[in-house]
Amino acid sequence: MSNVTLNTRKEQAIFNKLLIYILFIIFAILTLYPLIWLFYSSFKPILEIIRNALALPRDWIFSNYIQAIKIGKLNIYAVNSIIYTFVSTGLVIIFSMMASFAFAKIKNRATPFLYNSFLIGLLITIQAILIPLFISMTRIGLRDTRLGIIMIYVAINLPLAIFLGTEYVKAIPDSLIESAQIDGASYFRIFFSIIMPMCKPVMVTILIFTALACWNEFMLALVFTSSDSSRSLPVGIYSFSGPLATEYGMQFAALVIGMAPMIILYALFHRQITRGFAAGGAIKG
């Protein structure tokens, strides 16, 4: 290509386009290649990983996965992670939608104060409350329990959910609620029959944010859990970089197990996920 002279405008435009394509393809390869490498390396025996890092496995073996699950107890941790993600996300959605309805549509003198006290949670960094939280959880006896982890996850994910939900419910016209009230509907009836069905888009956004945050959360799970019955998957995967750090095959298998669910979900729902991040990402922080 170097001997082509770029004297006309058209050639320049094509050249630019080519450059842009190359740039984007490099980005795509940079994203995909490490993941693909990790995937096929997880099927190699350890000697092959060390000798031929780049090569495809000669024959695909599953023993890495079986061992990783057995030694790393990933099956227990995966169940814990699933419980944390499902329960926390469900609770966050129910609580945040109820709170959003109240903050947006049931006005009294305490509303702004209560609303702002939730929004303060958006500004607090987790590390700031880590030590007091650790001490109080230990005293209450909730440290290293599933209930304790779920409570923390719900609490740290509520502020963003309530913020997004309240902004959304505010846009629903008051007249809809008033006409339902005239027809004799209770607040509960209005909430379940009018507000919830209309809030589906924002509920999807909240679901995505909360589920991703709970499934991937690491630091709190590391600090607050110590026994097998309450550890989550990220902590289990991290434990492979301790004494087992040279068991590359097992470690790779554990990494694949940890990220596969999220990649599958992303492949299915990437439009909703990116839209959710565009809506919520600018607010978080």
Binding site: A28, T31, T125, A128, P234, I263
Partner: protein, 244 residues
């Protein structure tokens, strides 16, 4: 005050503020321009299949950061891909990777991975904001004979000025509290040189069980983030009055 003084001395000795600074630098001057540039190219429809590329750049955001940290530390380790590529380029089959063990060079992989993970977020934020710009303005400029470069500098950048400042502040506050990635990539090594504030606090509180110093560090972090929050509010108000 004694604890804060002790903390300050420790910080000075370990020189780890340098790393915090580098992380912030990469976030503000790496992720944001890259994300902005890519978002602009997608916005101007320079590529076909932009949905695919957008999805690719954003993909790392949904993967747990500890998995990314371990994966990339393996990529850069002697059994990984990066040393093989360097061996192939330099034609030196005996080359071995020591980047992660060197004080000065350990920053390179960390900076790279930070870019790899977070560029997608800024791409999404900038793209959403670019799509909010009134297309009539750009059309009018094109009719007046403005070139692409002129449109970019005279119209796009001023319109997004507020977003750029806001995302920079968010990037700074985000990097102040980042923990997982560096914790798994380096564990604070070599010789605690790659410690971030958050990891420093974790080590003091939950490895050495010194809650006092740990609390002192988290107090510093809280003060820093409150300052940043006030800054965000201030900029937002400025931008809103500018728009009105």
């Amino acid at each position: 005050m004694d604890r804060v003084g002790k903390l300050y001395k420790n910080i000075q000795r370990s020189g780890f503020l340098v790393l915090n600074f580098i992380v912030i630098f990469v976030s503000v001057f790496g992720q944001i321009p890259l994300g902005f540039g890519l978002a602009y190219l997608i916005y101007r429809k320079s590529v076909k299949g932009s949905g695919f590329f957008q999805a690719m750049v954003f993909l790392p955001m949904v993967i747990s950061t500890i998995i990314i940290g371990i994966l990339w530390s393996k990529m850069f380790s002697p059994i990984g891909v990066v040393p093989r590529i360097i061996q192939a380029i330099t034609n030196n089959p005996n080359y071995s990777m020591t980047i992660m063990n060197s004080k000065q060079l350990a920053m390179i992989p960390i900076g790279f991975v930070l870019l790899w993970v977070y560029t997608g977020t800024y791409l999404i934020i900038f793209l959403a904001n670019l799509q909010n710009i009134d297309p009539n303005i750009i059309e009018a400029a094109q009719i007046d004979g403005a070139t692409d470069g002129q449109i970019f500098i005279k119209i796009i950048v001023p319109q997004l000025y507020g977003v750029i400042v806001l995302t920079s502040i968010l990037a700074i506050s985000g990097s102040l509290r980042s923990f997982d990635l560096l914790f798994t990539m380096t564990g604070g090594g070599p010789a605690y040189y790659t410690n971030l504030l958050a990891i420093y606090m974790y080590n003091y509180s939950f490895i050495h069980y010194n809650y006092g110093v740990g609390s002192a560090i988290s107090t510093v972090m809280v003060i820093l983030s409150i300052v940043l929050v006030i800054l965000v509010r201030f900029v937002r108000r400025k931008v809103e009055t500018m728009g009105a």
